[in-house]
């Protein structure tokens, strides 16, 4: 029997896109479960300010829009399944991981931490 189900080919295409997303090299090496845990981890602030996490701006559900914690500006969903432009531009990903790790954790992320985050985002 030949496959005439259009949904089938669409999901195959999506899988292809995810594979392309994982082409942001670090994502392939990461552990999505570890990335998910790190995503929600709360980092308390020295001055007693509100604890920070990646979800502070992007939310817990990556398929939904986020909101910048200090400016309130809406942020488009990070999940490549709903926003295929995500994780396609390596320089952009690198730039935002640098900024967002600094803001959230108060330090740069290690290569392994970045890979885990990217594996988690790519799986959404």
């Amino acid at each position: 029997m030949t496959n005439t189900n259009p949904h089938r080919s669409v999901s195959l295409l999506c899988a292809g896109l995810l594979a392309a997303a994982a082409a942001v090299p670090a994502a392939a090496a990461g552990d999505a479960a570890a990335g998910a845990a790190a995503w929600a981890a709360q980092h308390s602030q020295a001055g007693g300010g509100e604890a920070r996490s990646c979800a502070s701006c992007h939310g817990e559900d990556l398929t939904g829009p986020g909101r910048h914690a200090t400016t309130g500006k809406p942020i488009k969903p990070l999940a490549p399944s709903v926003n295929p432009a995500r994780l396609t531009d390596e320089a952009k990903v690198e730039k935002w991981l640098r900024r967002n790790c600094n803001w959230t954790l108060g330090r740069a992320c290690t290569a392994a931490e970045k890979a885990d985050f990217l594996a988690y985002i790519a799986s959404q």
Partner: protein
Amino acid sequence: MKATLVLAGGLTAALLALGAAGLAVGDDDDDDDHHEHHKRGWVEPGEDVQPVANAAYAEECGACHMAYQPGLLPMDAWRQIMAPEALGDHYGDDASLSTDLRAEIAGYLAANAAERSGKSRARAFSVGDAGTEALPRITATRYFRNEHHEIPTRMVAGNPDVGSLSNCNACHQGADEGVYNEHRVNIPGVGRWDD
């Protein structure tokens, strides 16, 4: 040397901007008369500052907040904001850029800063200082404070849909197109502003 280059780039762009301002001269003396807005020139009437016209600027400086139009601050304020150390500690956030992008954006801002503008409302943003904080703010300019001091804080800080006065587009429905006249103000949860 670098400064000279940026300046030279800025001057060329400024000459272009001046040329454009010459054509748009009818818009100049519109001072406080919003009722003139139905007169149609090639410049959208009612624009108070020139809309953003640089893709790199829109992308890089519009990621965390709206891309503020260059005409909202004087050249010297943009120069301070665009200094490499300042971008690394940008109002508590990290907005650092590659050398090339920084030079392009700094040149664009300098060439279109408030005092370079042919529009009277943009020029108003160039008068006086822009605050005493480490970095200048549009919201700290004298003109801005005069225009906004009557708005009670419950409509701003106490309003989850606004948060701060830096969020121009929360209240000014034309902010993204550079339109700030009071007739297009709609404060979320409060409504139109009539005074």
